[in-house]
């Protein structure tokens, strides 16, 4: 092309330059269109994880007098978090601020429009990035509701979750993913941690907060003597399958474009879920004599949780290892450790998300490799080693510290917010209402009216 321009003289030179510029713009627009299509689809997939995915998964696990109350909590969070996100949440998480919390530049979504924000995702509209991140802010508190299922006041849930987002989620999201955040490995964090899709931000934060909720609220009346069997495992089964599918948006979408990295995260997600399901079922088969459906779907969720932080950093075979280990470890957390310690984390949010998330974050420090993710480069443009397998043992220590920060922030933050919420509106429904069930006592409805 260059020699052609010289040969044809200055007039042709400008014409060729103009055509080159037009071609370049067209190529960029095509990439932007492709990336945007995948990211909007991913955002929708992640919303599907909360409703109907999580709502069905949790709804089936509670007793039939509480199924609507449980679904109502997930669904209301879809609405509540969206409003909070638009007002202050996105800004506090992703506007430039200090190392711990974002600033107020994007208050009321000011300046968040069709132009990309090159710091986060250069090829998609800023609005796409904003709404994709919103879906993560929705599902994280929605995960916690499993811990206090069947006994928390609806008003208390609204107050607790609003404060929790402000005190725990927005700062943590900023620290891990926001520009200048303390743990952001790619945008100037002092303690570089790898959390591709939310091992710390989503799963450790929700899992640890769930444990604190279970401890502060106390057990359900009658636990553990009274049978509290899941009322409809078919609902839970459908919910778990929707979660698995939605997780492709969660993890592969976190590549923020329809790239090879997205494909790699997609593959790791599938492999992690599969191996974990087998791991849980195997452990349970040996431990209790029967492979159960609830075990198979719970195991898959554990694998999806554990592969989340490493999904954009690890190869397929380590994804299988991470998943299998998570399936076995989470089974022991839920079936053995919880029974031994006696807390009533009703739907095992800590055992699945807290344990699985922590395990995944640590294993990411081992298996993260530049062969998958070359986003970190030295001054000469060469990809930097990531995890232990790349010869960077320091990363494991960073991952550990990152987990510690998330544990402390979620644990202490949740404890204080629960105490405050208890003062303001009271945390638990009355004993009578709890025995009657939340559907009737709080919402004036019943889920199954077969006679009508």
């Amino acid at each position: 092309m260059v020699s052609l321009m010289y040969a044809l003289g200055p007039a042709a030179d400008t014409e060729v330059s103009a055509r080159l510029a037009a071609l370049e713009a067209a190529a960029l627009a095509a990439q932007s269109a492709a990336d945007n299509a995948w990211m909007l689809a991913s955002a929708a997939l992640v919303l599907m994880m909360t409703g109907p995915g999580l709502a069905l998964f949790y709804g089936g696990l509670v007793r039939k007098k509480n199924v609507l109350g449980t679904m109502m909590q997930s669904f209301t969070l879809m609405a509540l978090v969206t409003v909070l996100w638009a007002a202050v949440g996105y800004s506090l998480a992703f506007a430039e601020g200090n190392a711990v919390i974002g600033g107020l530049d994007y208050l009321l979504l000011d300046g968040v429009g069709g132009e990309p924000n090159a710091d986060y995702a250069a090829t998609i509209p800023h609005q796409t990035f904003m709404v994709f991140q919103l879906m993560f802010a929705i599902i994280t508190p929605a995960l916690i509701v499993g811990a206090f299922a069947e006994r928390m006041k609806f008003s208390a849930m609204l107050v607790f979750m609003s404060l929790w987002l402000l005190v725990v989620y927005f700062p943590l999201a900023h620290m891990v993913w926001g520009k200048g955040g303390l743990m952001n490995a790619f945008l100037g964090g002092a303690l570089p941690c790898f959390d591709f899709a939310g091992g710390t931000v989503v799963h450790i934060s929700s899992g640890v907060s769930a444990l604190v909720c279970a401890l502060v609220l106390g057990r359900r009346h009658g636990y553990p003597q009274e049978p509290m069997k899941p009322h409809n495992l078919v609902l839970s089964f459908i919910g778990a399958c929707l979660l698995w599918v939605g997780w492709f948006g969660f993890n592969a979408g976190s590549a923020l474009g329809s790239s090879a990295l997205a494909a790699s995260a997609f593959v790791a997600t599938q492999f992690g879920a599969a191996a974990a399901s087998l791991g849980w079922v195997l452990a349970e088969w040996i431990g209790h004599g029967k492979p159960s459906v609830l075990g198979a779907i719970s195991g898959a969720i554990c694998g999806l949780v554990a592969i989340t932080p490493g999904s954009g950093f690890v190869r397929p075979m380590p994804a299988l290892v991470i998943g299998f280990v998570a399936g076995v470890v989470c089974y022991f957390m839920v079936a053995k450790v919880k029974r031994k310690l006696g807390y009533d984390d009703s739907l095992d949010v800590f055992g699945v998300h807290g344990a699985g998330g922590t395990l995944g974050a640590l294993l990411t420090g081992i298996f993260a490799t530049k062969a998958v993710n070359s986003g970190l480069r030295d001054a000469g443009g060469n990809p930097l080693p990531l995890g232990l397998v790349d010869g960077n043992p320091q990363q494991l220590a960073n991952q550990f510290l990152g987990c510690l920060i998330a544990w402390v922030l979620a644990g202490a933050g949740s404890f204080l917010i629960l105490k405050l919420t208890d003062r303001l509106v009271g945390l638990r429904v009355s004993r009578e209402h709890e025995i009657q069930g939340l559907d009737l006592s709080l919402h004036g409805e019943e889920a199954y009216n077969f006679e009508s």
Binding site: K229, G287, L294, V334
Partner: protein, 112 residues
Amino acid sequence: MKKIEAIIQPFKLEDVRSALKAVGIDGMTVTEVRGHGRQKGHREIYRGHEYEVDLLPKVKLEMVVPSERVDEVIRTVLESARTGKIGDGKIFVYEVVEAIRIRNQDRGEAAL
């Protein structure tokens, strides 16, 4: 008139119904019930949490028949509901004081 109440295994309901139909009994009330006698319950496990389930699903059949047919009905139920294992159920027989058909106020055996 006597009322015959038979509590049987749910999966035997169709066998019993067709056997009774064959001897000309085609009116009955069927209820899904739960209970246990000497039969032990079973164990269910959810995420390692074990539950003993003592009350097992059964089906209760109720029918009112002329007194002279009681033995025949009992024999029919016994033959069709029996598996020989614990949990097959029980039959109870009661005296019936009166029977009234709501539609036309027939009374006694005419109402059956």
